[in-house]
Symmetry: C2
Subunit: 446 residues, 2 copies
Amino acid sequence: MEQADIVVIGGSAAGLTAAITARRHYPDKTILMVRKERQVLIPCGIPYIFGTLGGSQKNLIPDTVLEGNDIDLLVTEATDMDREERILHTEAGEIGYERLIVATGSRPAMPPIPGFDLNGVYAIVKDVEYLSTLQQRLETAKDVVIIGGGFIGIEFADEINKAGGKNISIVEIMPHCLVLAYDEEFCIEMEKVLESRGINIRTSSKVKGIDGDGRVEKVLLSDGTEIQANVVILGIGAVADVDLAKKAGLRIGLTGGIAVDRTMQTSDANIYACGDCAEKVSFFGGRPSPLKLASIATLEARIAGANLFGIRRENIGTVGVWSTAVGNHALATAGLTEGMARERGYDTISVTIQGPNRHPGLMPGVADTRVKLVFERNSGVILGGQVMGDTTAGEIINAISACVQNRMTAEDIAMFQTGTHPALTASPIAYHMVNAAEMAIKQMGK
Amino acid sequence: MEQADIVVIGGSAAGLTAAITARRHYPDKTILMVRKERQVLIPCGIPYIFGTLGGSQKNLIPDTVLEGNDIDLLVTEATDMDREERILHTEAGEIGYERLIVATGSRPAMPPIPGFDLNGVYAIVKDVEYLSTLQQRLETAKDVVIIGGGFIGIEFADEINKAGGKNISIVEIMPHCLVLAYDEEFCIEMEKVLESRGINIRTSSKVKGIDGDGRVEKVLLSDGTEIQANVVILGIGAVADVDLAKKAGLRIGLTGGIAVDRTMQTSDANIYACGDCAEKVSFFGGRPSPLKLASIATLEARIAGANLFGIRRENIGTVGVWSTAVGNHALATAGLTEGMARERGYDTISVTIQGPNRHPGLMPGVADTRVKLVFERNSGVILGGQVMGDTTAGEIINAISACVQNRMTAEDIAMFQTGTHPALTASPIAYHMVNAAEMAIKQMGK
């Protein structure tokens, strides 16, 4: 029987990062990765296969990183865990382990509507062959309907649109696209950007069914509208893949992920879980969080991988930091939006500062940039931030994320020491984040 | 006699930000700004007047911001302060005050070498007319020598070079350009960039004198080399302008700035100082800091402006965060470099991570990005960071600055919750800052 000190099930963001982290922390242990995919896609890059990159082969995580970290690889499907004997069963045989990391990820959520199994309806399955079929199908498709206007939906829409000559529609059940992650005013701006690029957006629209004779022909909305469709893409979210964990009797959490404590340990002390398959708790209040992001997966993996033979790290909970982009328009968020914060019962003060991200504003490459910060009124502690701007928005949000993680107050942020430069950032006098904090303090009447 | 509750002397980054901050915190007070310049230049934008922007008029701080904040303006020179009677003397008459903010800035350091007063030798004086003369002179100049390879020197060199057809040389006394703010390996990279753009760099070169018959003709180096020069630009730093403060008997600090405590109060409880004219202390150890940056000035101004009628804020000391750019190559720093930290007696661990700032690395717009973090070995606390990359480097350094200001440890940073996106940032698996922290932990043997 094969044997490894550490066995990692899954080779995407969580599994890979957990294995690398385990290698860093436990240089003398043997590590084996068991995964079912021959080639592993970079999950966040999947929409870009369909436009910018032109194919799956340009969006792979190279296995050289395994070799470089002395991690063995076995491509097979894990079928069961004998927790008593510490043996992982796979289609390729049994593997003994000291510690196991479950990073089985997620699979697409399927809508409870008739017709989603028609030919021409695709979910976002992280599989090279599956996505190649979708890509081929899109080559001849004229009418494409994307169900779900979250970040996956809008990125797919924009990328597929780059080929030209297609009618692309996004159908979103909520009043706006992206509304689960951004306050309305940002969602509206992003919808305008998408519409200016020729994409049809139907918000507050419920899909009643997908229709066609074997092959998909149209999407039916509750209000009676029919949208022609050669291809339908489902982008309504993902559910934790916990089949293996359930079979082995690991405890499952409230949102359907594998239950873990703050050390990422499961109900079995020899088994850790991380990434989309693991239950998450929010940084805010500690309640279960349904967020599934590669950046969260890697954080959890760095905790799981370090803790295998002695607890070294704890998870402070999921802040929720991520960004999306359509052309040069980027939208980024960290922590709670104003809407989320109020829904959870926080008394908030929100301030938005809009202005150029260069100084003077006549510097080339300048982009109008909007930063919104949300504070708790009494403590002044930052709860979250949102940024709309050019590519630099993706890193501005990381500075804001640092503020959130450190529970900085508006006072702290008003005295934030920024680096500024005419060709790179806003002016130090008008730096968005700092001025938003100053205005919040004024509103707090402190 | 004119009277204002708050009088601010100086209208650049510090004075303006102090006045705006005072307005936010003291809405009922009258505020008067006294400054000598009719038009105020954006200080950091000055090099860009000579290339990218094409003139001073595109690099001005508009006075509308004063009107919008109900700040009165008097353009005149302040000549003395009667601290007993709280009266500011100016060339335009006497002004009574309750509180005074001194933001008189700095002036160029002049080298102790013969010939610097020749026609054709220019310092970086923040004055529209003076810089217009330099600009005119540059139009016909063929040989331009810049003395000093700090960020001002290299930005001037690159901007003047954009006109084409000139021989431009930077003469730097230290072994490398930028060496007071970056570790050597970054300085070397930036020198390569400058050289690839046709700029001559002479490091480890001491200027013995500037020679010419009335007009400058050449720069003489200690090793006997003579460099032809129609124009010489001095970029060797700045000294605090404390003439007014000295005359009025305010205490002066060790580096020549106006002595202030951590509330930015001077030795007179009714007078505050901020910006280049004020003495600074380092965030690290609290010793005097010679740094002079607009971003530091605005931080100090936000403290001074808030504290005028009751202490609300304290300065944690100067972290030192700033960036520079040559074309699309940006270089940014926060806190201590490895060299500075060792010089001050820290036992350091430094890690550099190099890789693409997009994922996959085949995404368009990708730039090779290098992040170096410096940690104190025993505590694991971050002491500083340096970033070389494209425009996003200017905001990556602000995320690092947040880590430094919060005295985060390598462990904290290894678990930093980043937002990542294929078109905007590095991969979550390989995010530079996080991996640098992980590698540092490994080196610490913790």
